[in-house]
């Protein structure tokens, strides 16, 4: 039976008891004047969703977002750019969002944090005081797992295109410039990394493009992992359409169990060596680096020496510092996706508002639901829910569809593609509109 004590009942009734007001949906009822300062580091999915959703329920709090870039590029869905969609579809400026939600935007990066004084120090020399700090800075990448690779090389030639923007366009151009019958290598890093299906989606989209533009082209996935999400669906589709498993396969997958992990790169010769000892020559080498927590969180001690920032999953609050919330790829969470970052942001927004009113944060829910595509005529879905107990995450459900029998339904395939395109658009709108 539910714990229907008074506090929980109030929490349940809390939102429904209030009037919802008009187009902006901003609550006009004030619980009391509050000039609390909330500072958000990072103007990406996690940061902006926190700002927006906090403003929707709290009219008074001051919200500052520190973000160096004036143009944000969505990474989710950006594989489409590799096969022709304009990058601008994925880009947003902050103008509309900052005005609608009354955000103070500081166009700068954060150099350091003084947790005792509760101040964020920007590279440009500004000290910004906070009552509550929200960190959504995105992950950092590790390049020296692979001998011969470096950040400098990744920015120039052996691209990752794992933070959408300039590298996405460069990779697109590399693919277009491939010779007839050329080879592209894609190397997913060891999990966890942001957006687990994306390397396979990338291979899948490029293969469909190659079917039209470079018929004898080939993609080899050299994997640090023994398996992947949607493995059943991707392999089924690749078997049906891309000759997977045959001599003329357009896509090959070398799992970590088969020694597929890339250990060495020779950027001059354009070869990679994998753990099995084999060396593969390629025309396009797309290595995706291992992820770790953002250096800002490491340098300021939030990670406490671990790979990710540990949080209390009840409200995503840092275990290392009071009044600090951490979300997105840098936070400790089983899976890293944009959808999860937006759910975490909403949990944080209500938690901060609750504390501003001397209330306990409500029970969280995280739903890593996803509509993905293998091509222009095959879609997939993931339903994955996380609940929480005693500060710990509980994976409650993980359901990948369609099942083999279901995927024989051609209508379903097309409907899923249409729905997947729809959800990319509507997700962007839930963050920035």
């Amino acid at each position: 039976m539910n714990q229907l004590n008074r506090r929980n009942l109030l929490k349940l009734m809390g939102i429904s008891a209030l009037s919802v007001t008009g187009l902006t949906g901003i609550r006009k009822q004030a619980f009391g004047a509050s000039s609390a300062q909330v500072v958000i580091v990072g103007g990406g999915i996690g940061g902006i969703t926190t700002a927006k959703y906090l403003r929707i329920i709290n009219n008074e709090v001051n919200i500052t977002v520190v973000e160096p870039n004036s143009l944000y590029t969505f990474c989710p869905g950006s594989n489409e750019v590799l096969v022709g969609e304009p990058l601008s579809d994925f880009q947003r400026t902050y103008d509309h969002t900052r005005h609608r939600y009354r955000l103070r935007l500081v166009a700068d990066s954060v150099k350091d944090i003084d947790f005792n004084r509760k101040q964020v120090k920007t590279a440009g020399g500004e000290n910004i005081s906070y009552d509550y700090l929200v960190m959504s800075p995105g992950p950092d990448f590790i390049f020296d797992d692979i001998e011969g690779w470096s950040r400098e090389l990744a920015n120039r030639k052996i691209l990752h295109a794992w933070k959408a923007g300039k590298q996405t366009l460069m990779l697109r151009d590399q693919i277009r410039a491939m010779p007839r019958g050329g080879v592209m290598v894609i190397s997913p890093p060891v999990m966890p990394y942001r957006c687990p299906p994306a390397p396979y989606e990338r291979a899948s989209f490029v293969a469909e493009w190659m079917q039209k533009h470079n018929r004898r082209g080939k993609i080899i996935i050299l994997d640090h992992n023994p398996g992947f999400v949607f493995q059943q669906q991707y392999i089924r589709y690749w078997t049906e359409r891309r000759g997977f498993g045959t001599d003329h396969a357009m896509i090959e997958w070398v799992s970590s169990a088969q020694g597929g992990a890339v250990t060495e790169l020779d950027a001059g010769k354009m070869t990679v060596t994998i753990r099995s000892g084999e060396t593969i020559k390629a025309d396009v080498i797309n290595l995706i680096p291992r992820h770790t927590a953002n250096r800002l969180t490491r340098n300021t001690g939030l990670t406490q020496g671990k790979d990710w920032v540990e949080v209390n999953h009840h409200d995503m609050s840092s275990l290392a510092q009071a009044d600090v919330y951490v979300l997105g790829d840098t936070a400790d969470f089983y899976i890293k996706t944009g959808k999860l970052a937006s759910d975490q942001a909403k949990v944080i927004a209500q938690a901060i508002d609750a504390r501003l009113h001397d209330k306990e944060p409500g029970q969280p829910l995280y739903a890593n639901d996803c509509l993905a595509k293998a091509g222009s005529d095959f879609g997939m879905t993931l339903t994955e829910t996380y609940r929480e107990r005693d500060g710990k995450l509980l994976l409650a459900q993980s359901i990948q569809r369609p099942l083999p029998k279901e995927s024989e339904n051609v209508f379903l395939r097309h409907l899923l593609v249409s729905a997947a395109d729809n959800w990319q658009r509507s997700f962007r709108r839930d963050v920035f509109d």
Partner: protein, 217 residues
């Protein structure tokens, strides 16, 4: 049960696509001749087969089990003129009916349909009971639907000339979207562009009155 091979062949015929994946290369505007030829060539539809397709094709997810839409998002199809449903499916599949992200969705799900499938679905929906989805206003519009009634009669049955769909009881939101789409010429599906022309002089007030009139029938 549709086989994958058939769809592979169908899709293989597609050519260059617009930005949202809609391939309009076979989308020809209708003339009276081309429309009359299409009506004559329309296969005989079987409602029982159409019912099965409506489930298999996921039509019921948006248009309701019996063609009465659960949401203001999609039109009701119950009791509609089967010829009009057939035409709509042809237009979605060819990319001719390409207004917005909703029609892009319809484009996607009509790709696997043959003309026989379309006729079967049309027969199924035509046989369903229409129930009012729209408003119940009985105010008569100032400019009168005199201009509309010849093609959209409100006696509950289809115009024998099949010149226009039945509008009775249709969702006000849907009617508004389509009238706007015709006026802005984002929708170019009518034979000889009649609806596109007729809506040019429609004021917002007149449009609102028409919508209230038809949805209340």
């Amino acid at each position: 049960m549709r086989t994958v091979l058939v769809s592979v062949l169908l899709i293989g015929l597609s050519g260059h696509a617009t930005g949202d994946g809609v391939n309009k290369s076979s989308a020809q505007p209708w003339t009276p001749d081309s429309w009359s030829a299409a009506v004559q060539a329309m296969p005989r539809g079987a409602a029982t087969r159409g019912e099965k397709l409506a489930t298999e094709g996921y039509c019921i997810t948006c248009h309701g089990d019996k063609g009465v839409s659960p949401s203001r998002n999609s039109p009701s199809l119950a009791g509609q003129d089967p010829v009009f449903i057939y035409k709509a499916l042809l237009d979605f599949k060819s990319g001719l009916w390409h207004i917005d992200n909703k029609s892009t969705g319809m484009y996607a799900v009509t790709q696997p349909l043959t003309k026989q499938d379309m006729a079967d679905l049309a027969a199924f929906y035509a046989a369903q009971n229409r129930s009012k989805q729209g408003s119940t206003s009985t105010a008569s519009p100032s400019s009168g639907p005199a201009a509309c009634l010849p093609c959209h009669p409100t006696n509950g049955s289809a115009d024998p000339g099949h010149t226009g769909p039945i509008l009775d009881g249709q969702s006000t939101h849907y009617l508004k979207r389509q009238l706007t789409a015709f006026k802005t010429r984002k929708r170019n599906t009518d034979v000889s562009g009649v609806m596109e022309s007729m809506t040019q002089t429609l004021s917002n007030k007149q449009r609102e009155e028409l919508i209230q009139f038809f949805s209340g029938q």
